[in-house]
């Protein structure tokens, strides 16, 4: 079945539908990760997005339940140069994800890189005209200003790992399973809380991890206030959106990146050691730093803030993904070292 992608600036790209039929609205973004398509599709940080893979073939090695980073897919559509089935395309069908193959992904990525991530829609079939779709796209809300964590966070508290040398609370803004797995593998007992948990509830833990998540951090004022109330009471590690919330809680602003950082090969400079980490990244917003003394990591692509450290508040954070999945393990010790630090004072 034929299908098309319509961007809010009027550009259209054609493809063939290999996933669920129908249409999907969202922000068109691209990821440069060459492997890990299932992890990408199920990462809650891709909520509300149409994800273009720069990888030339997607689906070669099938799917496996243990590779899902959450209960369901969050990408609303995947755009591919060449989709390979049947496992992957069946999976897209079963999970209601719109999938396009045969898309000129090179042109699409260059367009998004030059013009920025933007609202878009994917439509399967040929019943709708591009003009109708375009009009509908322009009525959709933009990603800037979108508060999406309530839709992906757990509704109830749950225990991921009951036993451990230290007790860690994870505030779930759209957490990936591999973060929970890494915490547990490093010897932490892990309880997971909804995004709107209050500070008193988690302050009793040996440490609190602020999870990644989708959307714009700016409208999350209630979550940022909770982080602010928490600071100084127990050690805090922020990852991705969690990093941005720590930044907001410590007085920084945030801004939207033109086309975001999404991929598994983003070089980050550790300013304390002058070493380079090759990291997994997935964020469309970044922290505006006025206080460079607290910045521990910065992007070697665009010099944006990639990590913060507030020793007095026992709080630190990473904009990139130390849990990888998909991506390199260069930064894995960020989670491991944090848990070790908690053990040392527990």
């Amino acid at each position: 079945m034929s299908a098309m992608l319509v961007l809010e600036d009027g550009a259209t790209f054609s493809g063939t539908s290999v996933g669920a039929a129908g249409f999907a609205f969202g922000e068109a973004v691209f990821t440069t990760s060459m492997s890990g398509y299932q992890e990408v599709a199920t990462d809650p940080s891709f909520e509300g997005q149409l994800v273009c893979f720069t990888a030339p073939m997607v689906g070669n090695y099938g799917v496996a339940t243990e590779r899902s980073e959450s209960r369901r897919p969050h990408a609303r559509a995947v755009l591919m140069r060449e989709a390979r089935g049947p496992q992957w395309t069946d999976w897209l069908h079963e999970h209601g994800v719109v999938g396009l193959t045969g898309v000129d992904t090179r042109s699409l990525v260059l367009h998004l890189r030059d013009q920025g991530s933007m609202r878009a829609a994917v439509v399967t079939g040929d019943e709708d005209s591009p003009d109708e779709v375009l009009a509908a796209v322009r009525e959709q809300p933009a990603m800037a200003g979108a508060a999406l964590v309530a839709g992906v966070s757990t509704k109830e508290q749950y225990t991921f790992a009951a036993d451990g040398a230290v007790r860690v609370a994870v505030v779930d803004y759209g957490c990936k399973r591999s973060i929970l797995r890494r915490l547990a593998a490093n010897g932490a007992a892990v309880d997971v809380f909804p995004h709107d948990v209050d500070a008193d509830t988690v302050a009793t833990y040996d440490g609190v991890l602020l999870s990644p998540g989708p959307g714009d951090p700016a409208p999350l004022t209630a979550e940022a206030t909770v982080v602010q109330e928490l600071l100084g009471r127990t050690p805090v590690l922020g990852v991705c959106l969690g990093h941005q919330l720590l930044a907001v809680a410590t007085g920084h602003g945030t801004f939207k990146l033109p086309f975001g950082h999404r991929g598994a090969n983003h070089p980050v400079l550790d300013r304390r050691t002058n070493k380079v980490l090759v990291t997994s990244q997935n964020h469309g917003f970044a922290v505006a730093a006025d206080d460079h003394r607290s910045v521990t990591h910065s992007s070697l692509y665009d010099d944006t803030v990639e990590g913060l450290d507030y020793p007095d508040l026992r709080a630190r954070s990473a904009q990139f993904h130390p849990e990888a999945s998909p991506g390199p393990h260069d930064a894995a010790s960020i989670i491991g070292d944090w848990v070790e630090g908690l053990k040392a004072v527990a």
């Binding site: 060459m34 090695y61 590779r67 002058n274 070493k275 990888a324 390199p328």
Partner: protein, 286 residues
């Protein structure tokens, strides 16, 4: 990486004739190295026995020598030019083995020439199969079971099929597979005569396994970058030089690919390649 100010002239060893395992990529690597070194203000000297290379064209180095790539030929160049440093990591196995010979002869110490790119211990760990095996096992990785053989009388108890690899030959020259005791004996005899030190490695065969390669670069600050992954469409047993390859790899799940990536980083650190690239090959049983 900051420019070194304590050395002023650098001699680069080329890779000689184009053969499987040492093809035009080393000419390219040498050209790029000469360009960068000259840009940084170093006096460059290149030695290569192959006049059909780009690196020996006028303008690439301050001095160009078309000399045999052997101890005598390169020693005479070093005596004449007195470089501060010798760069052997751009010329493949030829240059690395020559660096070992030069080091062993004492001429580098005598003239005060520093090996740069990789020191002699790193070259030994990369080129000597037994040392390489210990180094790799030290990283927690597995290598096929093997034994060093210097005589056809050392073959009792070798499990078949096996692969015979002569020490210090290029691109696996003189090696081969053995499925029967007769083939094993013949391969070992041939390998011993091909090896400059009359030594072969008899190794458990992994023919038919999947083959992946990672191109890895490391600097003196211990930063490591994977330039790319490469997937061989032909399995182990078909030489990489004959195999169709695809980059990046397209059939491994992320967790399996990261395992190879972590392993490649561990190996380049353990071998001790200080600056420059390595091609690290893995066999993987699917």
């Amino acid at each position: 990486m900051p420019r070194r100010t304590d050395i002023h002239s650098i001699c680069l060893i080329g890779s000689g004739p184009i053969v499987i395992g040492q093809a035009a990529e080393f000419d390219y690597a040498g050209c790029q190295a000469l360009k960068v070194l000259r840009e940084d203000g170093y006096r460059t000297i290149v030695v290569n026995s192959n006049p059909a290379t780009i690196m020996t064209d006028p303008g690439f180095a301050d001095r160009t020598y078309l000399e045999p790539l052997d101890l005598e030929g390169v020693s005479s160049v070093l005596r004449r030019e007195r470089p501060d440093a010798l760069l052997p990591t751009m010329g493949g196995g030829t240059a690395l083995n020559l660096a070992r010979e030069l080091d062993g002869s004492g001429i580098l110490d005598e003239l005060g020439i520093e090996l740069i790119g990789a020191n002699i211990d790193a070259i030994n760990r990369a080129e000597d199969r037994e040392l390489f095996k210990h180094t790799v096992e030290g990283c927690g990785l597995k290598v096929p079971t093997s034994r060093i053989v210097t005589s056809v009388d050392d073959l009792v108890g070798v499990s078949l099929p096996a692969v015979v690899r002569p020490a210090f030959t290029l691109g696996g020259h003189g090696g081969g597979f053995a499925d029967t005791p007769e083939q094993l004996r013949n391969q070992v005899e041939r390998g011993l005569s091909e090896s400059p030190i009359s030594q072969v490695l008899v190794e458990e065969s992994v023919r038919g396994w999947d083959e992946f390669e990672l191109e890895v670069v490391r600097d003196t600050s211990d930063n490591v970058v994977i330039v790319c992954s490469i997937e061989n469409l032909d399995p182990m047993g078909v030489h990489t030089g004959d195999s169709v390859t695809v980059a990046p790899q397209m059939t491994l799940p992320d967790e399996a690919y990261q395992e190879l990536r972590n392993a490649a980083i561990a190996v380049i650190r353990a071998v001790g390649v200080d600056t420059g690239g390595s091609n690290i090959q893995f066999a993987r049983d699917r």
